[in-house]
Symmetry: C2
Subunit: 277 residues, 2 copies
């Protein structure tokens, strides 16, 4: 693992690190914020999964999360959104290939050799963090934006016991019925739609639910509402009697101005579930 940069921030350290990823077949980069409390022992870890076109950097510089993480004593990890090796397949569209891993393990050529973001986030990067930093594997929560909200919700539901709480900002909520999902799942997972089910938050909410609290924020003026399909997730949460809150926030769009506005409440929501509020 190499240190790309470390900047003091709210009394802690905002680092950027790179490492050779076996899972993604090449170098990967991630951001990690360690709060000041980490100097006294392991702290809880909140994962932030980013959306289409993002790298590890967007949320790290624009979401304003470090202020709240420092207050609560929580570490933040910002993984990249896809493999980045030069030889990894790509596509000209912004919503397929690099920057658009969709947090799945691709089974189809030419993607299968590098596009394994599910395993990267849930296994390889997690192990790397617990080995190298003062973060506590028994106290993890997860959040994300858009494609990353989809990733956060699907990981949380399919790995019971792993995360104490899950939240999402404007998640891609029902990808098996949306052009943000069908196109990518066809490419990465193939035409057999039964393999898609386990990557659809709405279907997983009906089938499994989550064994902890859920918080979802959705901007009412989001320019991508038709692709996100939040009403399907809200219906599923309610039908399942899921412990959780779905909030429609009037006037907000899909941008980081929306995310930063509600970031404080999300971090505090997770802090409570993690026992540090």
């Amino acid at each position: 693992m190499q240190t790309v940069s470390e900047n003091k921030c709210f009394g802690g350290v905002q680092g950027v690190y790179s490492h050779e990823s076996e899972v993604c077949g090449g170098e990967m980069t991630f951001g990690l914020y360690m709060p000041p409390q980490a100097s006294r022992g392991p702290v809880p870890l909140l994962w932030f999964l980013s959306g289409l076109t993002c790298t590890h950097e967007n949320a790290m510089t624009k979401a304003g999360a470090q202020a709240y993480a420092a207050e609560a004593g929580i570490a933040l990890v910002f993984p990249d959104t896809s493999p980045r090796a030069a030889e990894a397949a790509d596509d000209e569209a912004f919503d397929l290939g690099k920057g658009a891993g969709f947090y799945v393990n691709a089974t189809q050529d030419p993607w299968a050799s590098h596009y394994r973001m599910w395993d990267y986030v849930s296994d390889e990067l997690a192990a790397l963090l617990f080995e190298n930093f003062a973060v506590d594997s028994d106290r993890q929560s997860i959040t994300g934006h858009s494609m990353g909200g989809h990733g956060a919700l699907t990981l949380a539901m399919r790995l019971p016991g792993r995360f104490k709480s899950v939240s999402a900002f404007a998640p891609i909520a029902h990808p098996t019925r949306s052009d943000w999902g069908r196109k990518q799942f066809s490419a990465y997972l193939g035409e057999d739609e039964t393999a898609w089910r386990e990557h659809d938050s709405t279907l997983l909410m009906h089938d499994l639910g989550f064994d902890g609290p859920v918080l979802v924020d959705q901007g009412g003026d989001d320019q991508f509402l038709d692709l996100l399909m939040p009403e399907q997730l809200a219906e599923a949460m309610t039908a399942r009697r899921q412990h959780g809150t779905f909030r429609m926030q009037p006037g907000y769009d899909h941008s980081y101005f929306f995310i930063s506005t509600f970031m404080g409440e999300h971090v505090r929501f997770h802090a409570e579930a993690l026992g540090v509020a």
Copy 2:
């Protein structure tokens, strides 16, 4: 004036607007955050002047200031750092020409025709804001980073009565004795150094001081300490018995991670001087 974008943010509106600038001889763009309180009447205005290489966008997306401005009910304006017209002179160096206006009115060719950032900020943009937005010209304060901290301090001291308070993050504090200053003042103002004096915060602090409170934060691990010369400003503030605070912050560098860490305290400092704390 054209609206480039408007995003809801912390209950208010983060806007980006462009306009034809007579002073800078071409189109200029600025960011303006209007807090929710502006719907009930004019609010105070805090200027944020940015540093070398920045546009209106850097602080607007990375400083995290909107959270605190919404809390206090203060508008924030983020001007650009130089003229941008295609025909405006430029230089290959990052610290001269576009992105490096240094908040002076150039008197030398080829800069004099467009590089008039002093007049742009103090007159033209100010007038545009008071004409078009619910901001109160009697309640203004100013802050900035690096080259923008230099701009904030020099504008505040040379326009007595205009600003209720001034603060700066890692300002270029003594440009007449630094390579961040001598090079640019030679180009923009000519070789006669007497014209430089009124753009040097340390000299102005000795000569004039500021008729209100001053707050300066400086990172102890700033990679540009030798160019910023903060010790000269600290000496001048103390020698003058200036009402104010100079804080050395150990471990912090020159980045937005430093700025965002202390932004809340700066906004609250200005809110108090503006009578809204």
